[in-house]
């Protein structure tokens, strides 16, 4: 893989992120409703609302705000020491040595957006990875069982179960799981994030399971179809001829050939999950990007909307980038093709 190609991809990724950020800036502006009114509360007098609009700079012209956003996004300044009083001009920055990152200031949370986002993005990543793990494990298991007992009632039942999972909204799955596992059996906490590492892991189970049950269907079907297809192919027959057991043929040889489409979907899913699993995060009080973004959309908190979109688009771009780097590893045939014919890539 040449350096030039990587650079080109990074440049494209930047273009995508900048474009999406600008568009979300526009969205934050055209959302129906008045952000100052949302800050003031429904019963505030008109004069007080106007005062609030001015105090948070919501009366500035659009271009001034847009220009300021990009000018401040990455700039230089004195290093910020945690806990020390901040320079007024750098009140909403996070610093990495002299390099400052500024995503603006959230009027609803009264905190810098960069802090909010930095705090929540890892939690969404964590939930995303856990959910993806459940999806893949459940999906692969159901898919393999269905493929092994192809065209029997087991096949039907496995795929049917997976499809029921995808047809139930997450809030129903989530509430049922919460009722059973937390209320009835008292195995898990109802919601939240936990204070210690052990509590934290236990809190992770319910949201990850909910998302996992919901998302497993697509993998189950994909695995089943690809494995059935591959099991009939020549290399599988060769393996069988050499004495491999049926299970070995399915898992080692056939599943392997299905890895690429699965990884493609998984990368997309991960990108989307890090961008926020809106309902599940809300349901289980998981403080991730999704919850942040929904609240920001409801409260018309422009800087937070833009910040959350920036994070989710970056997550998407990064996970696709990783996928592309791994594609060759997953499917050797692809590697050969790319090497043989680089001009067509």
């Amino acid at each position: 893989v040449s350096v030039g190609r990587v650079l080109r991809r990074i440049a494209w990724a930047l273009v995508v992120v900048v474009g999406v950020t600008s568009a979300s800036f526009a969205i934050a502006l055209v959302l129906p409703g008045d952000p100052a009114r949302m800050l003031a509360g429904p019963q505030a007098a008109a004069a007080d609302v106007a005062r609030i609009r001015e105090a948070y700079g919501l009366d500035l012209p659009v271009w001034a705000r847009y220009e300021r956003y990009w000018a401040r996004l990455v700039h230089l300044g004195p290093p910020i020491v945690a806990g020390a009083p901040r320079d007024r001009a750098h009140a909403s920055c996070a610093s990495l040595g002299p390099v400052h990152v500024d995503l603006g200031f959230s009027a609803t949370y009264r905190r810098p957006v960069v802090d909010l986002v930095a705090q929540r993005a890892p939690r969404s990543l964590e939930l995303g990875l856990a959910a993806l793990f459940v999806q893949l494990a459940l999906g692969a298991a159901l898919g393999l069982v269905a493929a092994a007992r192809r065209a029997t009632w087991i096949d039907d039942a496995a795929i049917g179960a997976a499809l029921v999972g995808v047809s139930a909204p997450t809030f129903v799955i989530g509430l049922v799981l919460q009722y059973l596992l937390a209320y009835r059996l008292r195995l898990l906490p109802y919601d939240g994030f936990g204070a210690t590492a052990a509590e934290h892991l236990r809190s992770l189970v319910l949201p990850a399971l909910t998302l996992g049950v919901y998302g497993a269907a697509i993998y189950a079907r994909l695995v089943r179809d690809e494995v059935v297809l591959a099991a009939g192919s020549e290399f599988a027959q060769t393996a069988r001829a050499k004495g491999a057991s049926n299970a070995r043929v399915l898992v080692v040889h056939a599943l392997r050939s299905a890895l690429l489409p699965i990884a493609t979907l998984a990368a997309l899913d991960l990108g989307a999950l890090v961008g926020g699993a809106i309902v599940v995060e809300k349901l289980f009080r998981w403080p991730g990007v999704g919850q942040l973004a929904v609240d920001a959309l409801v409260n018309h908190d422009g800087p937070v909307i833009v910040g959350a979109v920036l994070v989710s688009s970056t997550a998407m771009v990064v996970s696709l980038f990783i996928l592309d780097s791994l594609a060759g590893l997953l499917d050797p045939r692809l590697r050969r093709a790319a090497n043989a014919d680089p001009s067509r890539h």
């Binding site: 999406v20 568009a23 969205i27 055209v30 129906p32 409703g33 008045d34 009114r37 003031a40 505030a44 007098a45 008109a46 007080d48 005062r51 105090a55 007024r88 009140a91 009027a107 949370y109 009264r110 192809r150 009632w153 039907d156 039942a157 049917g160 499809l163 029921v164 047809s167 139930a168 909204p169 129903v172 509430l175 937390a182 008292r186 195995l187 898990l188 906490p189 109802y190 919601d191 994030f193 079907r221 994909l222 179809d225 059935v228 489409p261 493609t264 979907l265 990368a267 997309l268 809106i278 309902v279 349901l283 009080r285 999704g290 973004a293 929904v294 409260n299 979109v309 692809l334 093709a337």
Partner: protein, 726 residues
């Protein structure tokens, strides 16, 4: 998420736009899968062979690559169908979706969610429909593939639909999991009838999200309730609805009613150790009204002398607040104002610690500091707030608990579970269904109370937009509405016929002010020249009137009821759902919305607070108007002005009774109902008495056997941990 945001900007739309939004959100998955599969196929031998034979790229794609991608794409398509239907149910959280009266399965699911616990059928019906259609699509997909890709055509066909059976079994399972009656509360260890006690940690929760704790900024139910414990004012409310001295020992009003002199209590200690003096009162009011403070409540104090100059940043100090002595402060107001003391009970006017500065720093989220019986210990925006007793408080009767842990953002369903487990000691956010099961449980009944709220809800008729610019049409609407239907639908609503809640009105405007009377409504329509014949459905107002409502709220439900009731007198409503932000901005804009719901929660318990912001012509603005009826009546204005300066309570009450009659006659605002809250608390929570004036007033409350309770909670968490490990 990005596309979701676009959707949120679009809001409620038609089906076409919805398809576009959902399609935009999902096309990338297909694109990536096709790309991956294409790359894979391209390297295969038969493609290379074909290329060697001179096939053109387009032919290669059509002939070899497309068929290969078909399988995964079909898989995606057949499962995505279901996901898309569900996506709408999720997007509805952001009020993205089709407008009623058009119904979709997604919307049905979304609207059924609050009733999950009691009416599972509401979820099961659209759920089953979606499951069946997903299975159907999946089979069509299978068939298509078998037809197009004979390589792997399956030999046997199923004779029995096992997948459908699995779907039905899952539904039955969900249906069987209907919640049971609540577990009884944890028994009292010691059945003591003691009337005093102290100590313990109180655990409460709210479903609301807390935004600010600063008393000058917080303007919502939850921050006010919490701030009440932390920031006493100079004067406050007693349970009987009288204004009583709090931090002040006494209040004197001058003869002409323009000067209030407050004598402060000695030895009041702030949480940071400072002693409250007259200067702190002046500083705190100046902090509230400073030019850079974005307080939503500043204009409540516009009557103080020198307000305009100071608020605009033109004067160095607030002229009207004078430090007379070390513990004596005098406030001058421009004109006599019977509501002034009531305004001083607002949390905005609370004295705050010297360490909080002379103006509010919008960029600082430091914990505020006051002089109340409790102080803030920590605030985690994701979990909640912790309060501890302030031992320096002058009245130990008011601060008995050791700590209060106030969780935020907790769903009502979770609160119910936690209340049963004894993790929560008090709840007021339970869903209607859960509330009903608790009221039905004999063990809990004694500890559940409906408490009224100082609020009035109704319909605002924009008097500047046809047909509501005609008083007869407004009267017709007032007669046609029958709010008693609301009581049957929701146990927490109480039908009313007037603006002032009972606590403020004291039965003064005797008799019924507005009667539901269909005949009178039709008569009024005739008087307006819009005669309607209910038998034939002819006549009435010829156009549809848009009724704007906040989606998934009481608004929407009430709107649907009013729609039916008004159709009987020839006024046809079309419901338009939008977000709270959009609705609150639109209704406050001149000549924009003809009809909407109007709800008002008392800021302070005085009749003026109901009339002046909602019906006085001074409250009309082109943008952000709080008088959303845009009702301007010189007679009412004069009456309200007189009531404001009338200090005699009896005379004042008579004036407001007269104002009430004018509003009932002119009908710019048709009051329909007020609301009440179901409060439930554990038997070991002692000394709590609900009050409409002081919601969630935990001063004077204590937990019996506080230490044992803590041990029990510890055991509960431990048990969960052990079982979880196993």
């Amino acid at each position: 998420l990005f596309v979701t945001a676009i959707g949120a900007a679009v809001g409620r739309t038609d089906v076409g736009a919805m398809i576009l939004v959902l399609g935009l959100a999902a096309w990338t998955a297909t694109a990536r899968v096709v790309r991956a599969k294409t790359l894979e196929t391209r390297g295969l031998d038969f493609v290379t062979a074909s290329r060697a034979l001179g096939a053109k790229p387009l032919r290669l794609i059509a002939r070899h690559v497309l068929p290969a991608t078909l399988g995964p794409v079909l898989v995606l398509a057949t499962t995505m169908v279901g996901q898309m239907m569900l996506a709408e149910a999720v997007l509805e959280y952001l009020t993205v979706g089709v407008q009623p009266p058009r119904a979709t399965w997604g919307r049905m699911l979304h609207e059924a969610e609050p009733y999950l616990a009691s009416r599972l059928g509401l979820v099961a019906a659209p759920g089953l429909a979606i499951v069946l259609s997903v299975l159907a699509f999946s089979r069509v997909g299978d068939g298509l593939r078998d037809a197009l890709e004979p390589r792997q055509a399956e030999a046997t066909r199923r004779s029995f639909p096992f997948d459908v059976c699995v779907a039905l079994a899952a539904l039955l399972f969900v249906a069987a999991a209907t919640p049971s009656a609540p577990r009884p509360p944890h028994p009292n260890q010691v059945a003591s009838a003691s009337t005093t006690g102290h100590g313990g940690t109180l655990r409460v929760a709210t479903y609301l999200n807390l935004r600010s704790l600063d008393p000058t900024l917080g303007y919502d139910e939850i921050s006010t309730a919490i701030d009440n414990l932390v920031f006493p004012r100079l004067v406050g409310w007693s349970r009987e609805g009288k204004i009583v001295p709090e931090l002040a020992e006494s209040v004197r009003v001058s003869e002409d009613g323009t000067t209030y002199t407050f004598e402060l209590r000695p030895h009041v200690v702030f949480h940071d150790g400072a002693i409250l003096g007259a200067g702190d009162v002046k500083r705190s009011l100046e902090r509230l009204l400073a030019r850079t403070t974005p307080s939503p409540g500043a204009s409540n104090f516009s009557g103080i002398k020198g307000f305009a100059a100071y608020h605009a940043g033109k004067a160095a100090g607030l002229e009207g607040v004078r430090v007379v002595g070390e513990r004596t402060v005098a406030i001058d107001i421009d004109a006599p104002d019977a509501s002034f003391l009531a305004r001083m009970t607002l949390v905005f006017a609370a004295p705050v610690c010297p360490s909080m500065g002379r103006a509010v720093d919008t960029h600082s989220a430091a914990l505020p500091c006051g002089a109340g019986p409790f102080r803030f210990v920590s605030w985690d925006p994701e979990r909640g707030i912790e309060l501890a007793r302030h031992d320096g408080f002058y009245d130990p009767e008011q601060g008995r608990l050791d700590r209060i842990i106030w969780s935020i953002n907790v769903r009502p369903e979770t609160q119910r579970f936690e209340l049963e487990d004894g993790v929560l000691d008090y709840a007021r956010d339970l869903t209607a269904t859960d509330g009903a099961t608790f009221r039905a449980s004999p063990a809990w009944r004694e500890h559940a109370r409906w408490s009224p709220r100082l609020s009035t809800w109704g319909i605002a008729l924009n008097t500047e937009i046809a047909p509501f610019d005609r008083v007869d049409v407004r009267r017709a609407v007032a007669h046609a509405l029958d709010p008693s239907v609301l009581e049957r639908v929701r146990p927490d609503l109480v039908a009313v016929d007037r603006i002032l809640p009972g606590e403020l009105d004291a039965g003064n405007a005797a008799g019924t002010l507005r009667r539901h009377d269909g005949a009178a409504a039709l008569e009024a329509m005739r008087a307006a020249g819009l005669a309607f014949d209910p038998a034939t459905g002819r006549g009435g107002w010829p156009h549809e009137i848009e009724f704007v409502a906040v989606a998934d709220s009481w608004d929407q439900m009430a709107g649907e009821i009013w729609q039916q009731q008004l159709a009987r007198i020839g006024i046809r409503l079309r419901l338009r759902l939008a977000t709270f932000a959009a609705v609150s901005t639109e209704v406050a804009r001149r000549r924009e919305v003809a009809m909407s719901t109007l709800g008002w929660n008392a800021d302070f318990a005085d009749p003026s607070n109901f009339f002046e912001p909602n019906l006085g012509s001074a409250a009309i603005a082109d943008e952000g108007s709080s008088n959303v009826s845009f009702f301007s009546d010189p007679k009412l204005d004069a009456l309200l002005a007189r009531a404001r300066t009338t200090l005699d309570p009896e005379a004042r009450r008579a004036l407001y009774a007269e104002a009430e009659r004018i509003v009932a006659d002119q009908a710019p605002w048709v009051p329909t109902n007020s609301s009440r809250t179901l409060e439930i608390w554990q038997p070991y929570l002692k000394g709590y008495a609900p009050s409409p004036l002081l919601p969630e007033d935990f001063r004077g409350v204590w937990i019996e056997d506080g230490t044992e309770r803590e041990a029990m909670l510890g055991a509960l968490t431990l048990r969960r941990r052990v079982r979880g490990r196993r």
